[in-house]
């Protein structure tokens, strides 16, 4: 189905709304996980931190406030239904314009600068930003847009290790635990621990990032990876790092693994952490102009 001319403006409006809403409405699965962690917490300082988390979540929804000051690096995963016919270049442009409009119209802090000159265009965009991942969905007639404003406290804790086959799964387990402990208080724990396993170096890192955008605690469909998720989740939560790294019973809200096959000589593992708010918003757009918002 060829999309109408108005579709690109709809994408632009939707991306503006996704950015603003994502900063104010923490996903319900994340809120539930924070509530559960707060309820079972035994340390006094950690209880105080969880109370502040829940207060800010409530202010976001109830009083239309931005929950965290970090407006992040704008990242979009765009699933194009195979029955849609559209101009991909115009689609990417509409996403960029929506990002810029959110920044100007709300207004939002522009967190994007040139890596060398540190110039900030005050648009939340720049060379290569926003980051847009396109994929194609068989038998679908909709455009699915998943948005994440990725904060830097957690993003700066990203790491990749090109392990070798002889390091085995144990090498992966060790690396993940060392990265989470090494990150300590800095990524705003409790975190969602995204793990990429396999692929090339670049794919491995992309898998780790995509893993952080999954609904909280949704298991990997492969039972072997799902078991590894559970094992690492339990291990990480025994470290005692706790909320804000001030000590406590919950260090990770979830551990998610995404995997790809790799080269015979390779055993890559990547870790991408997401902070406790785990902001993400989703919109599904139909060619007839209908938009459904979700998470």
């Amino acid at each position: 189905m060829e999309v109408p001319e108005t579709f690109y403006a709809l994408v632009e409006d939707t991306c503006r709304d996704l950015y603003i809403r994502s900063l104010k409405e923490i996903p319900p699965d994340v809120v539930d996980a924070i509530r559960r962690a707060a309820a079972r917490e035994t340390k006094e300082v950690a209880k105080r931190i969880f109370a502040a988390y829940l207060e800010s979540i409530e202010l976001g929804r109830g009083r239309d406030m931005i929950v965290c000051q970090d407006t992040g690096i704008p990242i979009y995963w765009v699933g194009i239904g195979s029955r849609l016919r559209l101009d991909g270049a115009r689609l990417a442009d509409a996403i960029r314009r929506g990002t810029e409009r959110a920044t100007r119209e709300h207004p939002l802090r522009s967190s994007i600068v040139s890596p060398l000159t540190r110039e900030n265009r005050q648009t939340s965009t720049g060379e290569g930003i926003p980051i847009i991942h396109f994929n194609f969905v068989p038998d679908a007639a909709t455009l699915d847009v998943l948005f994440m404003p990725k904060g830097s406290g957690s993003e700066n804790m990203s790491s990749l290790k090109m392990l070798v086959p002889a390091d085995g799964v144990n090498g992966i387990k060790r690396f993940v635990l060392e990265q989470v402990v090494g990150a300590g208080a800095k990524p705003c724990p409790p975190t969602i621990v995204g793990i990429g396993i396999g692929g090339s170096s670049d794919l491995c890192m992309a898998l780790a990032k995509r893993a952080t955008a999954r609904p909280l605690g949704s298991p990997n469909p492969d039972p072997q990876f799902a078991a590894l998720e559970v094992e690492l989740f339990d291990a990480i939560n025994q470290t005692g790092i706790g909320p804000q790294g001030l000590g406590g019973d919950t260090t990770a809200l979830a551990v998610h693994i995404e995997a790809a096959w790799t080269h015979i000589t390779c055993n890559p593992v990547a870790v991408n952490l997401q902070c406790w708010r785990a902001e993400r918003r989703r919109a599904t757009l139909s060619a007839d102009g209908k938009v459904e918002f979700g998470f």
Partner: protein, 197 residues
């Protein structure tokens, strides 16, 4: 764990009585600084436009709205990971007389030593819970170095800013570092139990 309320500017006596884990609220002026403003001030040697003696500095780059009269309205004032700015601790305490650094994630063992020497503390702000902190920000009184937006030097008027947790006291205590060291010790044990020698 005791609770304290202080008005700014802070005195050495104010901060010397604190112990890691204590709860603090602040009233008065808090200056917002971070990577770009600190690099301008301490790497490029541009004179600081405000007197930082007794100051509480917050690692932040807020979301703001510029009003028609040129002032700024705070939309979201939170904090950022302090460790990036760790190397500036010495100059801030020794040359500028800063008494409190506010941020998230903690500072190094070296910064804790400096805080014991000069009489200063690190107050841990609840990272990511900026909506609550924004309500404690009454006004943006002055903004310097607007070309660094959003990493300007901000002067905030705060009321009941907190609860802040004492992360580093002036006696050498460093809560985040203690927790991390303990986690490293536990991690070695956990890995052994997992059969990952």
């Amino acid at each position: 764990m005791a609770s304290f309320q202080f008005n700014t500017p802070l005195t050495e006596a104010d901060v010397r009585q604190l112990t890691i884990g204590d709860c603090v609220t602040l009233d008065g002026v808090v200056f917002g600084i971070r990577d770009a403003s600190l690099m301008r001030m301490l790497d490029k040697g541009v004179p600081c436009p405000v007197d930082l003696r007794g100051a509480a500095l917050l690692h932040t780059a807020p979301n703001v709205r510029k009003l028609p009269d040129g002032r700024y309205e705070p939309l979201c004032v939170g904090t950022t990971t302090s460790m990036r700015m760790d190397r500036f601790t010495e100059a801030l305490l020794r040359d500028h007389g800063v008494r409190a650094i506010l941020g998230k994630g903690g500072l190094s063992a070296k910064s804790a030593e400096l805080m014991a020497t000069y009489g200063a503390v690190y107050l841990s702000v609840t990272g990511g819970a900026a909506a609550g902190q924004t309500l404690q920000t009454e006004a943006i009184e002055q903004v310097f170095w607007e070309d660094l937006m959003p990493e300007c030097l901000w002067q905030f008027r705060v009321k009941g800013m907190g609860p802040l947790t004492v992360g580093i006291d002036a006696r050498g205590g460093n809560l985040q570092l203690d927790v991390q060291r303990e986690a490293e010790r536990k991690a070695a044990e956990i890995l052994r139990k997992m059969g990952v020698a």
